[in-house]
Homo-oligomer: 309 residues x 2
């Protein structure tokens, strides 16, 4: 007999948490971008359609990064052309630079995200830019996107640790994040790209911003800390959480490690706490089980493992 069949988890709210959380589903972009397998566009389209059917309202669909860097998402145009958009669901896309914005605009998107670094080393490696210079690169992109009426989200990566530099000063993260917000990003997603954060850090970094309404958190589960960190962020008033169906997306810096926080593990937490989110756990588990078959590897999500059997 499974826990779901006997009505578990029990719903018991806790003090000081938001009533509703928006799940920003990144499986199709951040997840598939970091999977070894290149997934056919038809499978991606079915994946997105199933996720929408499961009640998720924000599905980051793909990235307009150069195919040379991320061959897994080289089919971005084809994907967006084939996408059957559902009422009430948004399909943001990642845009790394001006050329990416051209492609996104040509594809008719209405919501984009840019991807900045909180550290020098990752800015250099990922953007071939300094920490400071990257903003000069993003500014005209954001300006033009806003002028075209797009919604722009800012990702900030390596907010809680950097694989080359180690600890990252909170002030540095906050200063970088503020520049993205000042540029006109409607939301800043604080990324723990290598999954090392713990809740004290979350409190320090999130607490450095004036308003938790403008923040989202993006935790990777490499060291099993993603959900605890999410809980810490929720306690501080953050109400948008990034996650990936089935925990898709290995960590590119550690071959064997797990990737994004699994949407199903997050949903179990939210269900137990009686926090509204709009998604159906069983439909998500079915979707991730199906996707795991497509990828030929089991889902690292604890919930999917427990309920799929």
């Amino acid at each position: 007999m499974g826990a779901r069949e006997v009505g578990l988890p029990d719903r018991v709210p806790a003090e000081g948490l938001p009533e509703r959380v928006t799940i920003w589903e990144v499986g199709a972009r951040d997840g598939l971008q970091n999977e070894k397998a290149v997934v056919p566009v038809e499978v991606k389209l079915e994946f997105l359609d199933r996720l929408a059917g499961a009640g998720l309202s924000v599905l980051e669909a793909t990235s307009f990064v150069h195919p040379k860097w991320v061959p897994q998402l080289a089919d971005a145009e084809q994907l967006l052309a084939g996408l059957e958009r559902r009422e009430g669901v948004s399909y943001p896309v990642l845009v790394p630079n001006a050329r990416g914005l051209d492609r996104a605009l040509a594809a008719g998107v209405s919501s984009i995200a840019i991807f900045a670094s909180a550290t020098e080393t990752f800015a250099k490696r990922n953007l071939n830019s300094s920490l400071d210079e990257q903003f000069g690169m993003f500014e005209p992109v954001v300006e033009r996107a806003l002028a075209e009426g797009l919604q722009v989200r800012g990702y900030l990566s390596m907010c809680f640790g950097d694989p080359w530099e180690g600890p990252v000063p909170a002030e540095q993260v906050v200063a970088a994040g503020r520049r993205l917000l000042d540029m006109g990003c409607f939301q800043l997603s604080l990324g723990d790209t290598i999954g090392v954060a713990t809740p004290g850090q979350v409190e320090r970094v999130v607490g450095g911003f004036a308003s938790p309404d403008q923040l989202a958190v993006h935790f990777h589960d490499t060291y099993g800390q993603a959900l605890s960190n999410t809980l810490a962020a929720l306690r501080l008033g953050v109400s948008t959480v990034d996650s990936s169906a089935g925990g898709l997306g290995g960590c590119p810096y550690a071959e064997s490690a797990t990737g994004n926080l699994a949407t199903e593990d997050l949903v179990w937490l939210l269900d137990g706490l009686g926090i509204e989110h709009g998604a159906d756990l069983d439909a998500l588990v079915r979707t991730s089980t199906w996707m795991a078959e497509q990828l030929g590897r089991p889902s690292p999500s604890r919930v999917v493992k427990a309920l799929a059997g």
Copy 2:
């Protein structure tokens, strides 16, 4: 490059948490009892010695349950006879009944644990007793153990959900737990045997007891919730946490599911929060990697997966 090599996790304390946590390591008992493989006694002895060498100070060593029910621990006498006890380390054993206590006393143990149920169905299935009657069974065992100068811990299982009954009323858990404390147990370990709990439940159940000093928490990671629940308990002043090196111990009610909270995942959290615990993470990871080889299956611990490579 690994996170540990660049000094991560960063140590950032959070408000309202204990300064020090006692890790009650259950890998050799609760872990191995639920693994399919029967591990040779020499391997168990090396496992316990390595865990003590890694700085853990409480190692639940084995169980005096009838070998017919748990053949994995049929070597309890042999194990205790071969154990090289280290200074400052305690080696409690599980004692299910009067016969088990006889065996434990004959083996010269100084610390035992009894295992009660918070629900009718599990009391019936595990002890062939009613929820109420089980205390009558435990009373003479505890009385005699205390008279013999032993330390007695009380486990209470199914505190946050039962696979047959579903949700378990907090009042029922608190009432059952109080009976174990009133009997003379120095500590009560609240068990989420099937891993379904979420933090609101933890607050409600833990908050039902007068003093968090007398409590320990015992979470299973079946649905990925164990560490978030631990964090919720730490915030309420609980400072003893049960965990299992490498996350040993599948859940007996779900073949594919993961078992106990992994000690390594807990230690990452505590390290990041600057909470003292005395254990060395790298030594634990080496131990669990070695143990996984003995068992012929990879550790489900996120930290072990990420750092073992």
